[in-house]
Amino acid sequence: MQIELIENTNSITMVWTGKSTHRKPSEFISPILAETIRRSNASKKRIIMDFRRLEYMNSSTITPIIKILERAKRGATEITLLYNKSLKWQDLSFSALEIFETQDSKVEIKGVENHVPGNK
């Protein structure tokens, strides 16, 4: 799996691609998430976590993601999570994360139906 960081004027986008199958994916993911949150808090930019090109993730990969969403709910970090609604596994995995959404849109979970370039 790869996570590409793209910083724009208003947001920092994390593009997740490939397959996440490591035994302890937190060791790879958590430092990147921590650094992205640090940058987001310093610049007041929204974090966009784009999973649309992710091909597979094991359950250990979900853990650091939901911990960050839960903390964002109670903190100042703004997060939008994007997933590919056309892929059934992504729809099942990520739509369940709507429980972390906040009414003020600080945390948003968005399923997108469109085609994602490069997706298998």
């Binding site: 597979y56 094991n58 359950s59 250990s60 979900i62 911990k67 969403l69 839960e70 596994w89 369940a96």
Partner: protein, 172 residues
Amino acid sequence: MEQSLRLTVKPQWDEIESARIEVGVYLQSQGLMRDAVHSLTMVISELIENGIKYGSFTEPEDAIAVDIHRNGHTTTVEVINPLNIKDKAARNHLTKLDKTIQWIRGYQDPFEAYVEKLKEVSRRPLKDEESGLGLVRIAYEGKSILDFFVSEEGCLNVSAVSHFRGDNHEKD
């Protein structure tokens, strides 16, 4: 007519992806659609991960066996690994496995169990790396009924039974 596949997987993490690919090819050859193949390979991956984490592999030939049985719309996956029942950690794992499966069965809809587990895990400390989501994910995303037993030979057999009939998972 029943169709089946047996794989032997070395208890090494890198072997999981090879098993996923092999199982995926087999399930596609059985006429299953993409979503069903993805669900079942996820189920198998999660069960093999548990087998590697909690199995006892003391002899060079010790391995994980993966059996897939297809009968009509029903797919049964069995993942079998040696277990040292005298080991306290192994006994703790069995107790936890039993409790988790019973807990999942307590929910009419596995989605509710999954959401409860998401909430619980999300509140754990960041440094706590244990997921605890694997089995409930199998029940929810894999639409599978889980069960297990320990054989007389001391092997743990965890099974997941899925039905794909009527939900557009399978080719007519």
